[in-house]
């Protein structure tokens, strides 16, 4: 059930009033929202409901055992079991084909041909997201920063339909306390919620889908058939497409949760205005980068053990972060590019500090230059993220840098494509307080005027978007 569909609209029109009617009866509300969330999740493929349920039971059991035990060894053993169970499930469903086919091919190249039966394992939607959320719960309980909650509360947390499929990765400590808050049905922050939902809808349906169908998919399917300009614009278009697609989805998820009375953490903060890779990761998929920092980078040692260990930890974190996105070596290279550039930035900064150099003055020109560099490094990495193989990525990059193809016609670089890319970039430079003021103004409109305004946004979105609803890019992660 995709958010921008009539089916979901009907589902939500039932869930919203029922949820608020039951909100004051906590237990009933939890049962209801759990049932609604499982229905939502099972709508994709009912078989995976059992996987979600199984993950809930296993992680709750582990958390309770960790909490109940006073002995460090036992606690650590349960934690290890929990982490292995989670990563084992993820490895099987997401990486089984990848590992087996790579191992088979390696053996074949070594002359040790084997013929295993490889069956493509169906990837349960959202498994990467709910596995990370479950891990955060278990690890936080182990660390003693969070106490286990009831099975029902944990089940609601893991399956809550606004975030179960593609995040944002909401941690237990951010969500579970809200289950015990009193939510006042007379005070729903609807203007921010509607703003996020409709903004997200526009970004997804109009900008992302338009760029995807009109240039990105066509060029990446066959880069050698296109001129350098067309390929370069397609790479920039993909940068905007994936931003509009994923941030659009999380905007909708945050807005929907808000209508139900729940706050989710922000997931994007104008990432293409970043002036460095460090800055980029403070703005892009913020809930993932915080997760990777707290549950991978810091446990690896962070920057506590010297410069080279720090580089190793950064690099490793990003390699694994890349692999988290999908079972393909191209994702690992994507993570490697980010990790490598972060190490470079760190090295340069350390060297500057060691030489007692003053930081460069913060001029507008300097900032724009750093933004340009950062954006292009990010786009370089996106080539590997989008390409389905190294040869495909190689074709894209070769074509961009091959001067003999710069004069080739670029029929796909239309005014609409450039406008959509521009809109995706300009949106990030709109001052946040201007958006906040707009929301505040919108909230003071009479409800009828709010509804009519949103109806016109639906007209624009539906008329300007391509036919049909393309799945969200992050659904397959």
């Amino acid at each position: 059930m995709l958010f921008p569909t009539i089916t979901f609209a009907i589902f939500f029109l039932v869930v919203l009033p029922t949820s608020w009617l039951l909100m004051h009866r906590r237990f009933r509300w939890q049962l209801f929202i759990l049932a609604a969330s499982y229905f939502f999740y099972g709508y994709y493929d009912w078989r995976f409901v059992f996987l979600l349920g199984g993950s809930t039971l296993v992680n709750q059991l582990v958390a309770l055992r960790i909490h109940a035990s006073q002995r460090d060894g036992v606690r650590r053993a349960w934690l290890t079991a929990g982490v292995l169970a989670n990563l084992g499930g993820l490895a099987y469903f997401k990486y089984y084909d990848f590992f087996v086919s790579n191992a088979t091919n390696l053996l074949a190249r070594l002359g040790l041909g084997v013929s295993p039966t490889i069956v493509a394992v169906a990837l349960p939607i959202g498994i990467s997201f709910f596995t990370f959320q479950a891990l955060s719960y278990v690890i936080d309980v182990y660390r003693g920063t969070f106490e286990p909650r009831t099975l029902l509360e944990f089940a609601v947390y893991l399956s809550f339909f606004p975030h179960v499929v593609s995040g944002p990765i909401v941690r237990a400590a951010e969500f579970l306390p809200q289950l015990r808050e009193r939510h006042d049905p007379r005070k729903v922050d609807s203007s921010r919620a509607f703003f996020l939902i409709f903004m997200g809808l526009f970004k997804k349906v109009v900008i992302a889908n338009f760029l995807g169908t009109n240039i990105v998919d066509v060029v990446f399917a066959n880069p050698k058939q296109h001129g350098s300009l067309e390929v370069l614009v397609a790479v920039y278009a993909y940068a905007i497409q994936i931003y509009a697609d994923f941030s659009g989805y999380t905007d909708m998820a945050i807005g929907l949760a808000l209508l139900l009375g729940f706050r989710f953490p922000q997931n994007f903060d104008a990432p293409y205005t970043a002036t460095s890779l460090q800055d980029f990761w403070r703005r892009w998929h913020m809930t993932l980068s915080r997760w990777l920092r707290d549950y991978l980078y810091i446990p690896l040692g962070g920057n506590r053990n010297g410069r080279w260990r720090t580089y190793r930890n950064i690099f490793l974190t990003f390699l694994l972060g890349g692999l988290w996105h999908g079972a393909q070596w191209t994702f690992v290279v994507w993570g490697g590019i980010h990790g490598g550039f972060l190490c470079y930035e760190h090295w340069r900064q350390t060297r500057r500090e060691a030489a007692h150099h003053h930081p460069a003055p913060d001029t507008v020109r300097g900032r724009m230059y750093r933004r340009l560099i950062t954006f292009n490094v990010v786009c370089l990495a996106w080539v590997f993220f989008r390409a389905d193989s190294f040869s495909n990525a190689g074709d894209v990059l070769t074509r961009i840098f091959d001067p003999s193809h710069w004069n080739q016609a670029a029929p796909l670089v239309t005014g609409g494509v450039l406008l959509a890319i521009g809109a995706g970039l300009v949106e990030q430079y709109i001052p946040r307080d201007a958006l906040a003021r707009t929301m505040s103004w919108f909230s003071r409109l009479p409800p009828v005027a709010q509804g009519v305004t949103l109806g016109f946004v639906l007209l624009l979105t539906n008329s300007m978007g391509p036919r049909g609803v393309a799945p969200f890019i992050y659904f397959r992660f």
């Binding site: 074949a108 493509a120 058939q225 500090e353 909230s443 539906n462």
Partner: protein, 400 residues
């Protein structure tokens, strides 16, 4: 008091920009610090009932303004009671919208975007002009046309979503021949076919596009969405029965004649449906469709070529496989996780089968030796286009 700078906010993530040791994992920041909504101007909250009212008004206004699009979406649903109910309400909605002139905004917007036909519904389908009643198989084939780098075959590729990856791989593969030029990227329209002209009318679309492009070769892939009740003129038949098969064959034949009747007289390469993970559907449904494609192509031998994908992507027994072995022993995934579509390697195999058929229809290689070409003129009875066995040498034929 000025708002805190970004660096002061606890959302800040510092990967490594501090030379100070990082603290041990600490207590989580509050959710209110993470929403990015601190220090925003105050907003007026609404009671839940009014929130619902705003949502309903938005949907109602949006539905009235988009009534034409909703009507088309409703028509595109699978045939059955849901479609009947949806189209009933969508038609009423459209009537109201039209009476109030609310549909004009969408029409004007679509005109502005150059997409004025988006909401149009055209269910007219052509009938075949070739007789397909049982009789002697045509044995005389048209001459095999030669192409070269200076006189390239103009190739058009399209179809449903199954055309995407093989089409792209074909475009790459024909590049190596130097004798084929492509007319554009793969022209794919997802979830389309010949069963539901109100969703997408392929014959009407192809007539327009191909008349403009004047291709020499057309590669068309669809059928996998057609195992359903037919709608449009001559429709109404549930899937699979004799009447359904007769009507579907009429549509396929009409489409083939429409394409080959374009003034450039292109050869049509009709790509069959490969085995899918749901083998029951393949066996019960897709083999019927493949058989119709094959029979209709055979009736137009020399003009239409049926490309069998079962041998390219199936197991030795014609079954489904996610992974297949290469001659060097390495394995390669050929199908995507949905068990229907292709990976690039799978697409490559289908493209190979299409290119092989193209080489039988066209002479793409004699320009390399600069000589004449071998042109097939006759074919034995009962064999497909690739079953030719008697050949004669004739001068290379070139299109004007």
């Amino acid at each position: 008091m000025p708002p805190p700078s970004r660096a002061d906010l606890p959302t800040t993530i510092k990967w490594s920009d501090s030379s100070q040791p990082e603290p041990e994992p600490r207590a989580q920041p509050s959710i209110d610090d993470l929403t990015g909504d601190r220090d925003s101007p105050p907003r007026r909250p609404l009671p839940a009932g009014k929130v619902l009212a705003v949502g309903l008004i938005a949907l109602l206004v949006g539905a009235l303004l988009n009534a034409a699009g909703i009507r088309k979406t409703a028509l595109g649903q699978p045939v059955g009671w849901r479609r009947d109910v949806s189209t009933f309400f969508a038609d009423r909605l459209y009537d109201v919208s039209h009476a109030l002139y609310l549909d004009r905004l969408r029409v004007d917007l679509k005109d502005l975007l150059g997409r004025s036909t988006d909401d149009a519904v055209n269910t007219r389908l052509p009938s075949p002009t070739t007789t397909t009643t049982p009789g002697p198989t045509p044995t005389t084939l048209p001459p095999r046309v030669a192409f070269s780098p200076t006189h390239q075959a103009r190739l058009w590729v399209g179809g449903d979503s199954l055309s995407d990856t093989p089409g792209s791989e074909l475009i790459t593969a024909v590049g190596a021949t130097n004798a084929v030029g492509v007319l554009g990227p793969v022209d794919s329209h997802i979830s389309t076919g010949l069963a539901r002209p109100e969703v997408f009318n392929w014959p009407a679309y192809l007539k327009t596009v191909l008349t403009a492009d004047q291709p020499d070769a057309v590669v068309l892939t669809f059928g996998a969405n057609d195992d359903q009740t037919l709608t449009g003129s001559g429709g109404g038949e549930p899937f699979g029965g004799p009447d359904w098969q007769a009507e579907y064959a009429r549509r396929v034949g009409g489409l083939m004649d429409t394409i080959t009747g374009i003034s450039s007289h292109p050869k049509l390469f009709m790509v069959g449906i490969p085995p899918i993970r749901d083998m029951a559907r393949f066996t019960n449904d897709y083999t019927i469709i493949n058989r119709i494609f094959s029979a209709q192509a055979a009736a137009r031998r020399g003009h239409v070529y049926y490309v069998d994908t079962v041998s390219a992507l199936g197991t030795p027994t014609g079954g489904y496989a996610d992974f297949l072995s290469n001659p060097d022993g390495t394995v390669v995934q050929v199908r995507s996780s949905d068990g229907v579509h292709f990976t690039r390697a799978g697409g490559d195999r289908v493209a190979g089968a299409i290119l092989s058929a193209m080489r039988q229809a066209f002479d793409l290689d004699s320009w390399r030796t600069g000589g004449s070409t071998t042109t097939t003129t006759t074919a034995p009875k009962g064999k497909g286009p690739r079953g030719r066995s008697s050949t004669s040498t004739t001068p290379t034929t070139r299109l004007p």
